[in-house]
Symmetry: C2
Subunit: 222 residues, 2 copies
């Protein structure tokens, strides 16, 4: 585990993808795979895979390949998937509701222990087996349950206050669906942003370019 | 517009963020801003902002700053937000439903014209004013409506078939919520992936590292 302390973030960001691929292979009964085969399946080069996996000890032997189950388990351990972490979800709107339901199916990396909202029409509803609680219940809940992760599905304008409140209870990790820049305003936090609208705007841009390239090539002389 | 053909992808990926910030400024009545002020608000350096915005013509004048509305409009134009693009959403489950509802509130960059699912229990339901249609209606719908974007909210195993079907109708841009690697299997497509589970696993990793760093510093001698 000590070696994983030094893994560069770009490699870290590839680990979930390795994990998913290896899990699929394991499920379909593959017990051993070469870096070349894994590379073909993942659209990477064999040398990039070897380089990535070397970062944390390099399993795999020349001419033998990787033992799928062992490698998947080790990556899972590095990602921390073998330890439970409690999470509270704030904001049970469209996205919050979808995320709560999705978490039930996820690889068990987070255990959702509380859902909060400020809308009286939502408070008291049941969602994935939990009662949606009011924001006035958040402090007492955090003091008792000590969640480690905050999932932010509130409107942008509410994010600052929610983060302050959660940080007062020791929450330092945020899965952020708002546009509020948590890491900028709260140094010392770890934040993964899911910016749906930005991703959509980028797609929009790339679609425009694709269309104009096609028009250009149609107009090009033979 | 011609200059924007050469914008590097890392810059493109920052444009939505500029767009959002400028829109906020515009809404709050700010008409002009210096690169330094914008940098402070966005957690960037003034020189990075000048460099980014120079990529597509560089508005802003030394000592005068940027005209907020003008810059916001130009970025919107570059992103293609001034043109409508029709989208079909496939898979009206948890995420699909949330995305459909979210699109209604988005900056108008996509116009959702059809929602499809294969589950009889879902077909016929109304969602954001549209009737969820069966997959057997997709071909006829695409032939008539000619959507440009496919939003993939289906299970991973169904993605290949859905993409093939949409591509046969000229859809080349995909907003992909599955783990299926569209770009790898279908060259010539533009794909924006939203990998919720990968983002969560990365957060899990960073939380682990944060906790072990804290333990290490607690154990460190004074």
């Amino acid at each position: 585990m000590s070696k994983s302390a030094d893994i560069a973030m770009p490699v870290v960001r590839r680990l979930p993808r390795y994990y998913r691929f290896l899990l699929e292979l394991e499920k379909s009964g593959v017990s051993r795979i070469s870096s070349r085969e894994l590379a073909d399946k993942m659209g990477l080069t064999a040398s990039q895979i070897r380089q990535d996996l070397n970062c944390f000890g390099g399993f795999g032997q020349q001419g033998y390949g990787y033992i799928v189950a062992q490698l998947r388990e080790e990556i899972g351990r590095i990602l921390g998937l073998d330890r439970a972490a409690g999470a509270v979800l704030i904001g049970a709107g469209n996205i919050g509701t979808a995320i709560a339901k999705q978490l039930v199916f996820s690889q068990g990396s987070l255990s959702l222990c509380g859902i909060f909202d400020k809308a009286p029409s939502v408070i008291g509803r049941r969602l994935v087996g939990l009662r949606v609680q009011g924001m006035d219940e958040l402090d007492a809940f955090c003091a008792e349950q000590q969640p480690q992760v905050g999932i932010l599905c509130v409107p942008d304008a509410a994010a600052n206050e929610v983060v302050s409140q959660l940080m007062a209870h020791g929450v330092r990790a945020f899965w952020n669906f708002t546009h509020y820049d948590v890491a900028l305003h709260f140094p010392g936090t770890v934040v993964e942003n899911v910016h749906l609208e930005d991703s959509l705007m980028t797609l929009r841009y790339r679609l425009c370019r694709l269309s104009s390239e096609e028009q250009e090539s149609e107009q090009a002389p033979f």
